[in-house]
């Protein structure tokens, strides 16, 4: 058989019968890729020449090998009768070839780096194809652009769209923080496809001041930032999952001011409600080195 099956089996992925039924395998065309570009002359097809895939000076790149057929498979019949036959492999969302089999083509070369744990990712399990997010023919792939990546991710993660406009949020709309700043979308080391093993380690990439260790530590802070914060966006200040003092009262109910029912209190004149609420006093909730900082007030 042809390059297609060689590529597929080499990565340990086998075509499902249902996928194979619709696949039109053909003989290799083997001609110059300029012939392909005679028809596929849209900018998108030509732009591949500006990408690493098109660096024909390196014999390992797709275009230096079998040209377009390196990725798209044998296209002999397609070249002769383009309206009747198509190339063996197309990288679109709605073709008969499944995502795993499409991805096998990409993973045939992209084995290392971020892709080496692709098969563990939720994206792989959800039958997401590489081409669902990446446009390999373009010089500037949107998903690799800091300013445009979020729009690609939001295509599926629709519910996150509202978070980007909330009262408190990360600067994702502005391209300062991207989805991949925190998430390893090709298969991460830890929970939630994060780039680090734990939530806190991921947060410390930018918020290193909160790493500590501190003389006085706050247990939930050391445990997991998401006990109090919603990193995707919140209607409350500072990405808090609930509004203080009520957030704090989910764990702290002592006598006097800690356990007070503030809903019935005087808002305007109460320094436990206005401004930063509990952190008007307990401002060092992430930890403090102050020798008298037992209650995170100094």
């Amino acid at each position: 058989m042809s390059t297609v099956l060689m590529l597929i089996t080499s990565t340990g992925v086998v075509l499902a019968e249902s996928d194979r039924a619709g696949l039109v395998l053909s003989t290799s065309y083997g001609g110059d890729m300029k012939e392909c570009l005679d028809c596929h002359d849209a900018n998108q097809a030509r732009e591949v020449l500006r990408t690493p895939h098109g660096m024909v000076g390196d014999a390992r790149t797709p275009l230096a090998g079998k040209g377009c057929e390196s990725c798209h498979g044998p296209a002999g019949e397609h070249a002769n009768q383009p309206r009747k036959f198509r190339a063996a492999i197309s990288f679109n969302q709605d073709i008969v070839m499944g995502a795993a089999d499409q991805n096998a083509v990409c993973l045939g070369c992209h084995k290392g780096g971020q892709q080496k744990h692709w098969h563990l990712s939720e994206h792989a399990k959800a039958d997401i194809a590489c081409a669902d997010c990446h446009i390999v023919h373009t010089y500037k792939d949107r998903v690799r652009s800091k300013n445009e990546q979020a729009q690609v991710c939001l295509g599926c993660h629709q519910d996150q769209r509202a978070n980007l406009m909330k009262y408190s949020r990360h600067p994702i709309r502005e391209g300062v923080v991207t989805c991949t700043s925190c998430h390893e979308v090709h298969g991460g080391k830890g929970d939630g496809m994060l780039v680090e093993m734990t939530v806190n380690e991921t947060c410390y990439q930018c918020h290193a001041e909160k790493r500590g260790p501190f003389l006085f530590e706050h247990e939930p802070v050391q445990d997991d930032c998401t006990h109090c914060h919603q990193p995707h966006g919140s209607v409350n200040d500072n990405l808090l999952s609930a509004r203080p003092p009520f957030l704090c009262q989910q764990c702290h109910i002592a006598s006097r001011h800690v356990g007070t029912n503030y809903v019935t209190g005087n808002v305007v004149g109460n320094n436990r409600l206005i401004g930063k609420s509990c952190t008007n006093c307990h401002g060092q909730v992430h930890g403090t080195n102050h020798p008298a900082g037992m209650t995170f007030r100094r």
């Binding site: 290392g112 300062v176 410390y204 530590e217 509004r243 109910i253 019935t264 008298a292 007030r297």
Partner: protein, 719 residues
Amino acid sequence: MNSQRKLSFGVTFIFLVLSVKTAWSQEEFGFEGNTDLPSSDFYNFIEIGVGATENANGKFGEFTQPLQSDGLFGVMAVQLSGIGNDNLHRWFLNSSTELHPELNAGLSEQGSYRMNFSYWQSVKVEMDNTLTPFAGPTRSNLQLPSGYINPDSSSGSNSSADPAFYGEKDFAVKRDTFEFGGTRYFGDHWALSVDLSSQEKEGEKATGGGQGFAGSTLLIEPVDYQHDEMTVTLEYTDKRWQWSLAGYYSEFDNENGQVSFDNPLTDEKHLVGLQQLDLYPDNEFLRISFDSGLSINDFTRLSFFADWNQAKQDDDFLPYSVGNPDYYSSFSGSPFSPLPATSLDGEVERLNARIVLSSRPTRRFNYKVEFSYKDKDSKHNAFPADYILYSGSVSKASGTTHVFDKDSELISIEGGYRFANRSRLRLGWDHEVMDRETEEVTGKFTDETEENLYWTEYHLPLLGRANIKFRVEYSQLDTDLSEERESHLHSAEPEATPEAAIPTFLTEYDRMLYKLRVDYPFTETLMASGSLDIIRDNFDNDFFGIDERDSQVLSLDLSWALSLELSITGYVIFEQVEWEQTGQQSEGNGTVVGRWQIDSDNNSESYGVLVNWQAIEDTLDLEFSTSYLDSDSSQSGKWLLNEFEPEAMPNSGTNVHRIEASANWHLNDQMDIRGRYIYERYRCDDWAWDSRNFSTIAFGWEEPNYDAHVLTLSLHYRF
């Protein structure tokens, strides 16, 4: 001209010069001269123009720097790139000031090496137009203005704060990030990478002064951080086995170890000039990590992750700013126990490991088995520490610091089966046990949790036209709390005085999660999709604290390509999170005032429409988008024992409406004229900041409501 505009114009000038040079040298880099390949289109461009804003100071997102000044500003973007004659070398350089100043550059030789450099700057405006008695240059010693009259001392009440003593201050933090990375490839299998990063963060934040009760105030916290990171990675890749070994080092430095201040709300003699707020200490972090993937055969793969890391912090403690025996002897004469060390000399080690076996033994069946282990182990011990009040007296003698460690073990098993109709069923079970150890001076105690998660997911890609995915999860957390922990907790009985509610992460619960996603193409050009996520948390809580938490998110999208020239997409998202918590209000002497229940809601609704229209073929592209978000949080509470009527806090929320319109006129193959207009309306209603509370927290900030506009016009030239 402010520094932002100077930078914008400066960078524009530099790249104008560079672009001329680059255009001239295209042939040198050989792209145009490469006769083996078809000729290419234009990939380099420069865009230059001008913009005008009205009322845009700090608007359009608090991070969007160029639009933070009213009036005219420069628009600049440039992209330069080239490919060598050998079709091995590539380089690029791009820069923009559209959203924030940034510069990126790279050089690579395919299969041999690559180098990248990036710089960007962002500014977060936390609060603008804020009034504070500490307005002025940033200092680590905040002093009150001359003649400042303390509201408490002037009239015996907190009602006489004089705004004349309050100056205006913007609280903003600027972050500059530099990154440099390089990879050298050795043959087909080996690669060595070095990545360096440096983040500088400067500015001011508002932070709590911690004086407590009537002496609580908000201060200016100076921010001057530097965070440097270095990662060295050795990677091996072959057909069957891939692994990488990485070392990561991080160093965080804070220029300001403390801020001291006079209290604007109380003039008690013993407080003046002495109270200090400790700021984040410097820290170091080192990590060695290894991860690997091994293809055992064509359908089975073994993955392994492990890292060991160490966090250290040894900043000196501040001198006691309260409780100083010499200073306070005349006030309290209380027994006083200084810490038996001058620094924490803290050190925390963590070990994380994860091993996963995944396989697809048949065309239809796949499975995964995973075991992971995480361990946090503090090498420093707990210190004896008294709880010392600002008055200098010891409120809680023989106290202790706490050191928190934990370890967890997770077993995860999942399997998937693909049916003949291409539908797919997945099932999984996760079992995690976690031990949380708390060390005090008097000893250690351990709280244990055990969580089981069962889930199933069914994906039906072709039900008629619909593509449906449904997921259900059930999880349950059981705890085995230590006697020490339980002795601090207060059961939900009305008579006793509660000391603490139970931490949410130690609260037993069961959770149901439902996720439904449907994609439905009505026609080839009209596609609808929707998702519904529902989570029900039921806390089996014998103590005060959280009882229930529910959330639901509904999202609907519609995409319609009316023609090749015109497409419309729209979305609607409704989100609701609500939870219930209980507590008990008590007097200091233990007298119970009453038990209460508070219900909270976080809600948001958002809508958006995007229209793309090629109004004149190959000549004029128009884009219009509008988005709207209405979000609020609300609380209501009631007394449980006395059957009082529920009372509600005023709602708080934000309302954002944004309109963007852009036009792109193609003058010719190389040149476009671009125009862009943005309007944003922002309304915030927050009772916490409703009034300028000079007499209560000596701080004034009004919600930043605004109607802001920006218009830009630029020339985009490709070459």
